[in-house]
Symmetry: C2
Subunit: 333 residues, 2 copies
DNA sequence: GACCGGAGTGCACGTTTGTGCAATCCGGTT
DNA sequence: AACCGGATTGCACAAACGTGCACTCCGGTC
């Protein structure tokens, strides 16, 4: 029942109808604009329509993935920051250029856009892709550019319910947007973020509906997630959204937790054994996560540095997308 | 002596200097513009420079291949024309949309731009690429977008000298531009287009300097050429540029030649045996050409249809780039 | 130290592009 | 046939962009 097809057929802001003259024109326009360097005016004349329509056709062509724009940093003599991070932490770094003067929420937005565009070329057909939730992923999901794939599945990495809501709307919106962008199935994980009792989790984990999801997670070919950090600054969604009570926070403190990925916690050295809360969390076992071929971590804002350090120590990511400020900070302290 | 390095180092309109701050800024700007959707104004502020400089950085980023824009026609449900051509002639067709109202020289220009951009992604490292010459290829060579490759070589397919000139400047300009765009070596073929006596060709073909070129041609991984057509309309370069005298044209007529590729002639049915002029021509044996893995034919203008038909019958191309008008004409008669 | 040439910069202007809005089209309903 | 709502269009205006030109900066030369 959870397998929901998120097609590109009829939908929300449903674009591409059948072969229709609309998308044919979009292709023609895109070729004339991007491959022949005509102006929109010239294209409008040839297509016997108005310039504004051409402008709209083109933005549609971009949004639907008809036109793809990629920026390659010249192979291995890449920018210094990225190289240093790669050497020191053994992850492929994608540093998003952002001047220091920019405020946090704009940084998030810009990291999100660039992350979305970095991820798109990595999404293949026949993939199983895990997606976490949180403010970072939410932002990313808003900026995905479309691309058609076949038989791919997006699977929710961890439950999203809390004491106030079932969390369905929030987490599933994110998932839905991913599915829609790539024409893929989505599999929700309808459990709370944390069980109240570890025993309930154990019991639920035996349920067939849950095992289906866990099985998908084991077969993931890619995972996309942010990090939570307990350090200073803005607390991440998990720490402030009513998912944890005072007592929980105290045990985290006692266990020397510095952050989490998909509500699974870890310490500064990357270890996660014997962290009590993990027994009640619905996130993927971090060892399972580490076996996924491609693990993309998106981070924006320096307040997440501590959590990020832990995640890197744990080797949770193969690819790291982060803003320039955080990149510097990651290296220079 | 013929192996000339056409680097991207110091040159003509030499752009990319070392790692310099210039190209670093170009990368940053490109990321901010194409991946973060900032305006040039915003980028200028962050880079502490003027908007016009940003505009220039961006166009540099595009020209040097830092930014790559591709338009994919949605896999196999591609436009009707392209499918029909593929079925009927067994070549991958790339139809360049052009309204009928456009004049011939503009059609050539637009086909050339789009051809250049279609070719670029196909150019690999370690490739050996044969290039013909003529008005079509000349136009293409003017619009190549750069892309860095290693250890690739462009080799001239046929001699370019005629009774008036050695043809060096014209053909070698084309070759040079290709080499420069991809940072590749170029190998000129310093012989006339046609020898006066077949015996001279036989003799020359034993010379080591020539054999080097012939050997490269045998090892080509890609070939790029136009077609000449004897039919009506504007005569191709070869037929009007002083390469052939009246008598030659008569023998072509007698041999029922309809066109040529790289100065090797063929008939309407694709055959080329016993065409006298081919014994004196310096182009690659058409059987050798047909063994090349990827053979890209660029055609603009309906006057070339007859030659094109012959070339297709001979199976000379694996990929065909042509304007919409010619595509229609090719199918509907 | 004066001079020179080429590359890089910002300004100002004209061109090109994005977008809110009102008008129109179109398929389905009453 | 009249009506309705959503999608699509062109218009008009504002925003964003490209480029000739004059100026500056810098390294080499006399």
């Amino acid at each position: 029942m959870t397998g929901i097809r998120v097609g590109t057929d009829a939908d929300e802001q449903a674009p591409e109808r059948s072969p229709g003259s609309r998308s044919r024109d979009a292709l023609r326009a895109a070729q004339m604009y991007y491959l022949q360097d005509l102006t929109m005016n010239a294209i409008a004349r040839e297509l016997r329509t108005s310039r504004s329509t051409v402008s709209r056709l083109l933005s549609m062509a971009r949004e639907t993935g008809l036109v793809q724009i990629q920026v390659n940093n010249p192979s291995e003599r890449a920018p210094a920051l990225e190289q240093q991070i790669r050497r020191r932490f053994a992850v492929e770094a994608h540093v998003v250029p952002v001047a220091d003067s920019v405020n946090d929420s704009e940084v998030l937005d810009r990291v999100a856009i660039q992350a979305a565009r970095t991820i798109t070329p990595l999404v293949d057909s026949n993939a199983i892709i895990g997606v976490a939730w949180g403010s970072t992923l939410s932002a990313v999901s808003h900026h995905l550019t479309r691309k058609q794939t076949h038989d791919s599945t997006f699977v929710q990495l961890n439950g999203a319910g809390n004491t106030q809501t079932t969390g369905i709307t929030y987490a599933s919106e994110i998932l839905r947007r991913f599915g829609q962008a790539y024409g893929a199935r989505v599999e929700q994980f309808p459990v709370p973020a944390f069980f109240d009792h570890a025993e309930t989790k154990t019991a639920m984990w035996e349920e067939r509906s849950v095992r289906r999801i866990l099985d998908l997670q084991r077969r993931m070919t890619m995972a996309i997630f942010g990090v939570g950090s307990i350090g200073a600054g803005v607390p991440s969604h998990v720490y402030s959204g009513g998912y944890l009570d005072r007592e929980d926070l105290e045990t985290l403190d006692r266990d020397e937790v510095v952050g989490d990925v998909a509500t699974m916690f870890f310490r500064a050295d990357g270890s996660h054994r014997d962290i009590l809360l993990n027994r009640r969390s619905t996130g993927p076992d971090l060892d399972v996560l580490s076996r996924v071929r491609r693990r993309i971590c998106v981070v924006s804002g320096e307040s997440k540095i501590d959590g990020l350090r832990g995640a890197l120590a744990a080797g949770l990511a193969t690819d790291l997308i982060l803003d320039e400020g955080s990149a510097r900070r990651l290296l220079h302290t």
